[in-house]
């Protein structure tokens, strides 16, 4: 005997419950990551004048790279410009909160750090900011991931994650990659 309308309706209702359960489980996992683990998309909104980026303020050349602030916070400042990152290598400590701050004087760039969830656009006129904690030591590749012109494929930097005991700031709190 073919399934009756009532049977079909009951099956569809059961199936709706299964799908709602699957969606609920995924939604719960996303909420857990966002609320308990603080894994959120970077949402910093902070404007800066791209025309004077290199002349004054925190993105002048002498202030770029990694610095341990007075309160102990590790901040790394990088300028993304056609077609390089300044500096091209930054040092950060493992297992310690790090704030990456980036800006662009020319066109839209983007960065990701391989093997981590760090991923943001770098839009001229704004400061892109990402808080993270690197868990493993080593050199990580940080390429530009937003096509920014003919030299885009040559635009990449190195994030050198070092063990906390090897992270030694100078008297100004700065840490830089050793010159090759």
């Amino acid at each position: 005997m073919p399934a009756s309308e009532r049977d079909i309706l009951a099956t569809e209702l059961r199936w709706s419950a299964v799908v709602a359960g699957a969606v609920g489980i995924i939604f719960g996992a996303i909420l857990y990551a966002a609320v308990a683990l603080h894994a959120n998309p970077p949402s910093n909104i902070e404007t800066i004048d791209p025309k004077t980026l290199h002349l004054s303020g925190e993105f002048t050349e002498s202030n770029l790279g990694t610095r341990v602030e007075a309160d102990g916070q590790v901040t790394t400042r990088i300028v993304a410009t056609q077609f390089t990152f300044v500096p091209q290598c930054v040092v950060v400590p493992a297992n310690r909160p790090v704030t990456l701050r980036l800006s662009s004087p020319d066109v839209i760039h983007g960065i990701l750090v391989t093997g981590t969830n760090v991923n943001t656009m770098v839009v001229p006129g704004y400061v892109a900011q990402v808080h993270t904690e690197f868990t493993a030591s080593g050199d990580l590749l940080m390429p530009c991931h937003e096509f920014c012109g003919l030299g885009h494929s040559q635009m990449w930097a190195t994030v050198r994650v070092v063990p906390p005991e090897s992270f030694r700031p100078d008297q100004d709190g700065r840490v830089a990659c050793e010159k090759p």
Partner: protein
């Protein structure tokens, strides 16, 4: 195959009725397998890649 269209139609109706009895079970099995695969794939990426890559914000 009797050659008589009416008799053959009746036989087809019976076979159709027998097949229809199993259709919901088969559709459910395929749907469950598809959704289960989707969940397994999603949680593999979530637990093996996304979470170990650390916090960001």
């Amino acid at each position: 195959m009797t050659g008589d269209p009416e008799i053959e139609d009746a036989a087809d109706d019976e076979r159709l009725a027998r097949v229809l009895e199993d259709v919901p079970k088969g559709a459910l099995a395929v749907s469950l397998a598809a959704v289960a695969l989707l969940l397994v794939g999603w949680f593999f990426v979530y637990l093996a890649i996304f979470i170990p890559r650390g916090t960001v914000g």
